[in-house]
Amino acid sequence: MTRDGSADVSSVSTDFSERLAEATRPLPRWESLVSFASAALVVAEVEARKLRHDPWEVVTRALQPLLWLTVFGQAVARARLLSEQEDYLTFMAPGILAQSVMFTSIFYGLAIIWERDAGILQKILVLPVPRASFVTGKALGAGLRALLQAAVVVTVALLLQVRFHLDLFSLVTCALAVLLGAGVFASLSMLLATLLKTRERFMGIGQVLTMPLFFASNAIYPIHLMPAWLQVLAQVNPLTYLVELLRDTLVDGQRFGVIQDWLVLLAWLVLLQAIVSRRYDRVLL
């Protein structure tokens, strides 16, 4: 092969400065906002496309909540350990639903580390796209995955004769709560990824973190049964508020849940997103 390219260089350099000026002109501020929103949606779309290529992942991930409902749920219900709950399975089902949302989303940080190791992250960070959009897009993607997961868990719960109030309102409210919750846990997980930076460390901490998040919440028993110090932990735990919203709508048949629960989750999301967007590129270092 000859050095074909160099023959064209003279003709290229004539319009070179023109192209350069056009390509590097400063953009108006609104354009970066539009760019941010559209890029976030595209990043979420990647998740949707991956799910379409491999839908079995959702099914295999549904096995764990299924085991919680069938093994743990049935045993506790039979033993009447929590005698105040007349239908324990129905009480715990929203908790298990929230848990599966958390477990799905808490691995998003690992995905960022994996994408860094694979070079996907570097390639994307060099594109002329606002970097914060990847953080928001990943949170949206986690929400999408969690929604599918939730649909499977709700179906399983219904098969196990859990008594859910299901109508259009409760479904929409639940879907929004799941989206919001998944966004919170995915952001938390990405924050951990920027701090820990390697897969090994992340796996270690990730396992350790999910346990207190799950047990220091109202997922499988009411908060007032806990010792005082644990109650404090449960009160700041975002999982508590997700469970609260799901239980209010699915079990108690409230239409919109309690506004405070929405606000706490939203505050977590905004706070974590803000931190992660600033620290995001540090996962590279």
């Binding site: 003709s11 350069l20 760019s35 595209v42 990647v46 290529h53 570097q122 994307i124 002329p128």
Partner: protein, 264 residues
């Protein structure tokens, strides 16, 4: 104007000096090869150039824009193919391109045209709808080149584009790159461990060792400057071989390096 200007670039990671007072310039339309043993600082220099890492000190400009002050604007004229395989294996080749084109906010009708065009350029039209995890190494690389050129960058930076590929796949990657140069006159900056690639495909070459640029010039100039050298490989060995091992020739090497640095 130089398209790339690197002047007195220093990058430290804690106590380690990865890039040490390195300076090079690259002109529009050039194919420029960056050579050096592992750990010489090539990848670090490239990452600073493509706005992924901040420099510790020194000046790095692309098209006259400083990388620390105008990273967003530089990213619009830059394409980057990292050393690791960066295409998403869980998506098809077409989807990998579609995602990038959407991130770049290309209008829908333009998108399909541009994707079809780059698929033809890198010879992946037939494999476009297969998942990337079924691709061969050469195909993945060509797809990554395609991803990096969707926005017609003026400068395409490739970190070891042919590492780990067999000779046929290597040739296919270079054919795609030269088809690109014929079409757009894109400036290329690449690193490689294959001396014959630098010799046949690069207009100019810089050799790095221990964070420093120890020589820079056309392959022919470098060969002429090193006594007894007949190929770029000889030049590379003379400049980066262990100084202590060549016994007593430290002074010679120093003189040699000084002579070579005049090409800078």
């Amino acid at each position: 104007m130089h398209l790339v200007e690197i002047e007195g670039l220093v990058k430290r990671f804690g106590d380690i000096v990865a890039v040490d007072e390195a300076s090079i310039t690259i002109e529009p339309g050039e194919a420029f090869a960056l050579l050096g043993p592992n750990g010489a600082g090539k990848t670090t220099m490239i990452r600073i150039l493509v706005t992924l890492l901040p420099p510790t000190s020194g000046i790095v400009r692309v098209a006259g824009l400083d990388v620390t002050r105008f990273p967003d604007r530089i990213r619009r004229i830059l394409g980057y193919v990292p050393q690791t395989l960066s295409a998403d294996p869980a998506l098809t080749g077409y989807e990998n391109l579609l995602i990038v084109s959407k991130l770049l906010r290309m209008p829908r009708n333009e998108r399909e045209l541009v994707i079809a065009e780059v698929l033809r350029l890198v010879d992946l039209e037939e494999a476009a709808d297969r998942l990337v995890r079924t691709y061969s190494g050469g195909m993945v690389r060509r797809l990554e080149v395609a991803q990096a050129i969707l926005h017609h960058p003026l400068l395409l930076v490739l970190d070891e584009p042919t590492v780990g590929l067999d000779p046929t796949a290597r040739r296919s990657v270079w054919e795609a790159l030269f088809a690109l140069r014929r079409r757009d006159g894109t400036t290329l900056l690449f690193t490689t461990h294959y001396m014959e690639e630098a010799e046949s495909y690069a207009d100019r070459v810089a050799i790095m060792n221990r964070g420093r640029v120890v020589a820079c010039g056309t392959p022919a100039e470098l060969v002429r400057a090193v006594p007894g050298a007949t190929t770029l490989d000889d030049v590379f060995t003379a400049l980066t071989g262990d100084v202590l091992e060549s016994g007593g020739s430290f002074g010679d090497t120093r003189r040699l390096r000084r002579r070579l640095q005049r090409f800078d």
